[in-house]
Assembly symmetry: C2
Homo-oligomer: 282 residues x 2
């Protein structure tokens, strides 16, 4: 039976480290604070916001919510982000994306100052990941993958890591994070031929294709660690699921993250750790 790499203990360990750092901040009379920008009332955003609220409460991180109607003049959002950049009592800025179409998302990402870009969407934050240089923060989900590997002491150095997906939110940054930790990294995508051959040769397989329930036995080997970044909905079984057909992997591979309860449950704790780091760097 495969080891199930649950996210919860990883998140708990991150939160404990966060709480330990809160003392330093309290000594300096700093309350770490996230400015959270939401446009509209999308269900995904609301449940992520709820998760952040719960996690941040436990640690003692403050949240300032900026909520805009879906038909708000984009300039209002841009101005509010600029104000949050300038406000020294705000340490991190998170804007829920995707934004409605009349907002210029590229502009929004560029507006957030890299020091406060706690979800690593800014060009300079991503440049830092690429260059392995401390310019900003990694996207939280990409870093959550690394946190899981670290927590469960899964060696990356010299290991073959195959990443399925090349998005700027997951695929590319997680590839660079793995490379920075000395894995031999292969990036596969929709144009890759013989993708199963590549995947099944991996020691660590990171699945971020966005295609629900699409990755089956031909992608696996029995010594493999499978990290499933996908999150989708299976209408037949009426439940959340990942990119991986969990039942077909779970008895076979060495270790696998579940969905839900895997990568997704670590992301919010990573976000918290970024807000605290940003506050400590002030």
């Amino acid at each position: 039976m495969s080891e199930i790499l649950k996210g919860k203990p990883v998140a708990e360990a991150i939160k404990e480290r966060c709480i330990a750092k809160m003392k330093d901040l309290a000594d300096r009379s700093i309350t770490p604070t996230l400015a959270l920008f939401r446009v509209g009332e999308k269900q995904d955003d609301l449940s992520y916001e709820k998760g952040i609220g719960k996690c941040f409460d436990e640690i003692g991180i403050a949240i300032r919510r900026y909520v805009f109607d879906i038909d708000t003049d984009p300039e209002e959002l841009y101005r509010a982000i600029k104000d949050a950049n300038d406000d020294e009592n705000i340490h991190g800025i998170l804007v829920f994306r995707p934004l409605p179409k009349h907002f210029d998302e590229e502009k929004v990402k560029a507006l957030i100052s890299p020091q406060k870009d706690v979800d690593g969407c800014n060009d300079l934050s991503l440049a830092g990941i690429f260059m392995n240089k401390d310019l900003g923060f990694a996207p939280c989900t990409a870093q959550a993958v690394m946190e899981i590997l670290h927590h469960y002491r899964i060696e990356t150095s010299g290991k073959k890591a195959v990443v399925l997906g090349r998005s700027l939110v997951i695929g590319k940054p997680v590839s660079m994070l793995l490379l920075n930790e000395d894995a031999t990294v292969t990036v596969c995508h929709s144009r890759t031929k013989e993708i199963e051959t590549a995947a099944s040769g991996a020691d660590i397989l990171v699945c971020a294709t966005g295609k629900t329930n699409s990755i089956g036995p031909s992608y696996f080997n029995e010594h493999q660690t499978v990290i499933d970044v996908g999150i989708g909905f299976d209408p037949i079984r009426n439940k959340l699921c990942g990119d991986v057909i969990f039942e077909e992997a779970a008895g076979f591979v060495q270790a696998i993250t579940p969905v839900p309860g895997g990568v997704g449950s670590v992301t919010t704790a990573v976000l918290a750790s970024h807000v605290i780091e940003a506050a400590l760097k002030r």
Copy 2:
């Protein structure tokens, strides 16, 4: 016998495209101009400078040389770069590196404005490569690899590309450029295990290890295109050579770049094309 992918015809084709664009610039009374910064009299720098001079003369690109003694106060260099940033008659800036140790190379790279960073060393230039976004220019050598592949119509989409080396000058950017053109990319490095197995499975093998004459038959297959980015000196045979043991590859693989006369001979033409692009964007 392998096809020898000579750099010269690639460079000539790039130069022709440059010359075609000079007319547009002449119509706007613009002389594309490179500011070239050299500290000391290193042989490598001098011969690169000579090559640039010859190539740029042919096209009609002007060069302003800024030469500093090796014991110059670094502030003088920094100030001169800032002035070149502000000078609207200068379109590209190139600083020969590595600089002597008392210069802050990170600072120098950050000083050059991305619009003028024609050798892609700035954080934002590299972020552009990573994000596949038009933020600046690619490092010339990394792009020279792609120019060779394009010129000789070597398909990248869906092909397995293996890059040996993960430096910020070659390995990482060329990996991203290949990924942006739909190759399935594996990045190998000093910690990679079974590197020959990975390399010999590649359709396109890019060698940028910096280890002269180190890549032999176990890295190859007969359908492979080998791009040798290395440049070193073989003291026994008293001649320049690459990372690849050329004699052992040349009869076996599908196609290979020679050293000298391969990638290196394309780099200067790529630099010229960047200066012209920068001038056109003004």
